[in-house]
C-alpha cells in the first residue's frame, strides 16, 4: 500500500496506471480481466457511470453547507464593516479591501506571521526527528519492551487536548509543580517557585513540549508501521555493500518511505500551524503575546475586540499562507492522483 517512488514518465492522467478498479463503463481502459459474463444494457451503463457521483454526493453536500458556505460567509465578512452592532442587528456595509490593507500594514501582523512560521517549523522538525528515531528504535526492540513503549505512546496520543493542557499546567505549576521540585533537587535552585507561565520564552517552550509530546506518537507509530513493510533483505544487501546505519537509512529506509514521510510532514505542518486550543487555554496567546500565532491572533481580534471583519481578513490570509506553504506538496499529490492504486 505504500506508494513507491514515482516512476518517471508515467503520465498523471494515464488511466492504465493501476489496479484500482477499472470502471465498467470504459472498456478501453480495461487491463484486468473482468467477469466476462456480464453484458450491460444502455440504461444500466448510465447508472453505473453515475455511481461514483452518487457515492461522493453526501460528502459534497455536507462540505458545501458546513464548510464551503461558512468559508464564503467568512470571506464576505472580511470585505465588510462587521462589528458588534452588525453581528447583533445586521446591516453590514461594503468595506473593500481596507481590512486586508490594515492587517498587512500592521507590523504586529508580520511579527505574528514570523512567530507562526518559527512555531510550525520548530514543532514539525522536532516531531519528525523524534518520531523517526522512536520508530527506528521500536523496530529494533524486543517484543515485550516494544509493546510497552507503544502502549505508552498510545497513552500520550489518547490524552484529550484539554486534559493534556491541564496536566502540563500542573506539571509546571510554580509552587507545587513536580518539574520545579525536580529542578531544585537537581541543584538548579533558581527554579524554586519559578513561574513558567509568566515568561514568554518559557511558555513557548512548554507549548512546544506539549505539542511534540502529543504528536510524536502519531508520527512514530505510523512510521513504524511503514518500516515493517521494508523487506529485511534490502538492509542485508546494503550492509554487504558496506553501508553504515546512517547510509542504510539514507539509501534504503528513506527512499522506501519517502511518500509516507511527505504525508506525515504535511499533516503535521497543517496541525501545528492550526494549533489553537493548547495555546488559548494556557495563556490566550500570552504572556505579552509571546505565544500568539496566526489562529490565536485572528481569534483575539474577532472575539476580544469585536472586529469580526478584521479577524476574518486575518484568517483568510492565514489560509492563504498555509496553502502557499503546502502548494508543492499539493501539486505532487495532484500529479500522483493520476496513477493511484500503487497498492
Amino acid at each position: 500500500m505504500l506508494t513507491a517512488p514515482t516512476a518517471a514518465g508515467q503520465d498523471a492522467a494515464d488511466p492504465r496506471g493501476g489496479t484500482g478498479g477499472t470502471p465498467p463503463d470504459r472498456p478501453q481502459g480495461r487491463r484486468i480481466r473482468r467477469p466476462p459474463h456480464r453484458p450491460r444494457s444502455g440504461p444500466r451503463r448510465v447508472l453505473a457511470a453515475l455511481w461514483p457521483y452518487l457515492l461522493v454526493s453526501p460528502t459534497v453536500v455536507g462540505a458545501a453547507f458546513l464548510l464551503a458556505y461558512p468559508v464564503i460567509r467568512n470571506t464576505v465578512m472580511s470585505f465588510q464593516h462587521y462589528g458588534l452592532a452588525q453581528l447583533i442587528n445586521g446591516g453590514a456595509t461594503f468595506a473593500g479591501v481596507s481590512h486586508y490593507r490594515e492587517a498587512l500594514t500592521d507590523p504586529e501582523f508580520w511579527t505574528v506571521v514570523r512567530r507562526t512560521v518559527w512555531w510550525t517549523a520548530l514543532n514539525v522538525a522536532l516531531i519528525m526527528l523524534i518520531g523517526t528515531l522512536v520508530a527506528l528504535m521500536l523496530i529494533r526492540l524486543g517484543r515485550r519492551l516494544r509493546l510497552a513503549v507503544m502502549s505508552a505512546l498510545v497513552l500520550a496520543w489518547a490524552t484529550p487536548v484539554i486534559a493534556a493542557t491541564t496536566i502540563f499546567q500542573w506539571l509546571f505549576q510554580s509552587r507545587f509543580g513536580v518539574v520545579n521540585w525536580a529542578l531544585v533537587k537537581l541543584g538548579f535552585t533558581s527554579y524554586r517557585d519559578y513561574t513558567w507561565f509568566a515568561h514568554g520564552g518559557a511558555t513557548f517552550a512548554i507549548l512546544v513540549m506539549l505539542v511534540v509530546w502529543q504528536s510524536v506518537p502519531f508520527a512514530a507509530l505510523t512510521l513504524y508501521g511503514g518500516l515493517t513493510t521494508i523487506p529485511a533483505e534490502l538492509y542485508e544487501s546494503a550492509r554487504i555493500d558496506g553501508a553504515g546505519p546512517w547510509q542504510s537509512f539514507r539509501l534504503v529506509t528513506f527512499p522506501m518511505l519517502r511518500s509516507l514521510f511527505a504525508l506525515i510532514t504535511s499533516l503535521e505542518v497543517i496541525w501545528c500551524f492550526k494549533c489553537f486550543t493548547q495555546i488559548w487555554v494556557i495563556g490566550e496567546g500570552g504572556p505579552d503575546g509571546a505565544t500568539t500565532t496566526l489562529p490565536v491572533y485572528a481569534f483575539q481580534i474577532a472575539q476580544s475586540f469585536h472586529k469580526y471583519d478584521l479577524g476574518s481578513a486575518v484568517s483568510t490570509l492565514t489560509v492563504l499562507i498555509l496553502l502557499v506553504a503546502l502548494v508543492f506538496n499539493l501539486r505532487r499529490m495532484f500529479r500522483q492522483e493520476g496513477k493511484e492504486g500503487t497498492a
Partner: protein, 303 residues
C-alpha cells in the same frame, strides 16, 4: 498518499520477525550492545507515560500530600475525595452524556459518508476524481477556529443555536476529510483482485464489497473512527460558542474548562476531572487497539 493509515501499516511479516530471530542467535555480547537501545526505550516510555501517570497520582492523593514539600510518586494515602468533588460538580452526568451523544453521532455519520466517498475514490474512475481528492485534502486545512463567527451566524439564522445537533454536524465535517483520506488508504491496501474473484463466483459488485472487502476493512474503520472520536470528544471552541443559554447542553471540554476556573487551586479535583474526561477515550483506544492490530495481520494479505 495511499499510506495515510495511522495505525494500520500492514504486513508486519518479514521485517521484524526474521530480525528478532537473527538477533537471538548472536549471543550475549549483543545484549550488552543493546543496552543503550533499551535505555532509550525506557526513556521514551517514561517521557510518554509520565504526564498521564502524574495526573492519576495527583487525582488519588489527598490535598495535604499534593501540596506537601516533596511530591509522592505513589499515592501514600489514596483517596477518592477528588473524584467525588468532580462528579458532584453540577451537571457532570448530563455533560458526559452530551459529549458521548455528540461524539458518537459525528463519528458514525462521518464513517458512513466517508466510506461511500472513499470507495468512489479508491475503486472507481471518474471525471473530477482528482479534483475531489485534492479538495478533500485541502479541506483538512480548514481553519475551524476562524469559522466560529460565520458558523455562529449560520446557526443563529437557522435556529440551530443551543442544539447538540449543530455540534454533531460540525464535528462530522471536522473529521470527514481525514476519515476519507484514511479510509481510502485502507481500501487501496485491499487488493481489488479479491473482490473480482468474488464477482467471478457470481456476487454482484455490492455483494462482493460487503462479503469480501468490508470484513477486511473493519479494522481500518475502527482505527479511523478513533481519530474522529478524539477530535469530537475534545472540541472546545464551538461547544463554548454555540451552546449559550441552554446550559444543560454543554459538553465535557467546556465543563472541564469552567471546572478549572472554579476549582483552579484544587489540583486534585482538577486532575480527577481530567481523568474522568480522558477515561472514555482511553477505553475506546484500548478496545479498538486490540482489534486493529489483530485485524491488521489478517488484512495484510498482499504482503
Amino acid at each position: 498518499m495511499t499510506a495515510a493509515t495511522p495505525l494500520a501499516a500492514p504486513g508486519s511479516g518479514s521485517g521484524s520477525g526474521s530480525g528478532s530471530a537473527r538477533r537471538r542467535a548472536r549471543g550475549r555480547t549483543r545484549r550488552l550492545r543493546r543496552l543503550p537501545l533499551n535505555a532509550a526505550a525506557l526513556l521514551v516510555l517514561a517521557l510518554s507515560a509520565f504526564p498521564v501517570y502524574w495526573m492519576a497520582v495527583t487525582a488519588f492523593e489527598p490535598t495535604a500530600d499534593i501540596e506537601g514539600a516533596n511530591p509522592h510518586f505513589l499515592p501514600l494515602h489514596p483517596t477518592l475525595a477528588h473524584f467525588r468533588t468532580a462528579v458532584h460538580a453540577d451537571g457532570f452526568a448530563g455533560y458526559w452524556r452530551n459529549s458521548l451523544v455528540v461524539t458518537l453521532g459525528a463519528v458514525l455519520m462521518s464513517l458512513v459518508v466517508a466510506l461511500l466517498a472513499a470507495f468512489a475514490v479508491a475503486r472507481m474512475r471518474w471525471r473530477g476524481r482528482r479534483a475531489f481528492v485534492l479538495l478533500v485534502f485541502t479541506a483538512q486545512m480548514a481553519p475551524w477556529e476562524a469559522l466560529l463567527i460565520p458558523m455562529y451566524v449560520i446557526a443563529r439564522d437557522t435556529d440551530m443555536l443551543d442544539r447538540l445537533s449543530m455540534l454533531t454536524l460540525i464535528y462530522f465535517m471536522m473529521t470527514l476529510p481525514f476519515t476519507i483520506v484514511t479510509l481510502r488508504g485502507f481500501l487501496a491496501a485491499i487488493p481489488v483482485e479479491l473482490e473480482e474473484a468474488a464477482r467471478v463466483d457470481g456476487c454482484t459488485r455490492p455483494q462482493a464489497f460487503r462479503r469480501v472487502t468490508f470484513p477486511l476493512l473493519a479494522p481500518g474503520l475502527l482505527s479511523t473512527s478513533l481519530f474522529g472520536f478524539i477530535t469530537a470528544w475534545n472540541e472546545f471552541a464551538f461547544a463554548n460558542t454555540l451552546i449559550i443559554k441552554n446550559q444543560s447542553a454543554r459538553t465535557l471540554p467546556v465543563w472541564l474548562s469552567s471546572f478549572s476556573n472554579v476549582f483552579g487551586t484544587d489540583w486534585g479535583a482538577t486532575m480527577a476531572a481530567s481523568c474522568l474526561f480522558m477515561l472514555p477515550v482511553l477505553a475506546v483506544f484500548l478496545l479498538l487497539q486490540n482489534r486493529v492490530t489483530a485485524g491488521m495481520t489478517a488484512g495484510a494479505v498482499k504482503g
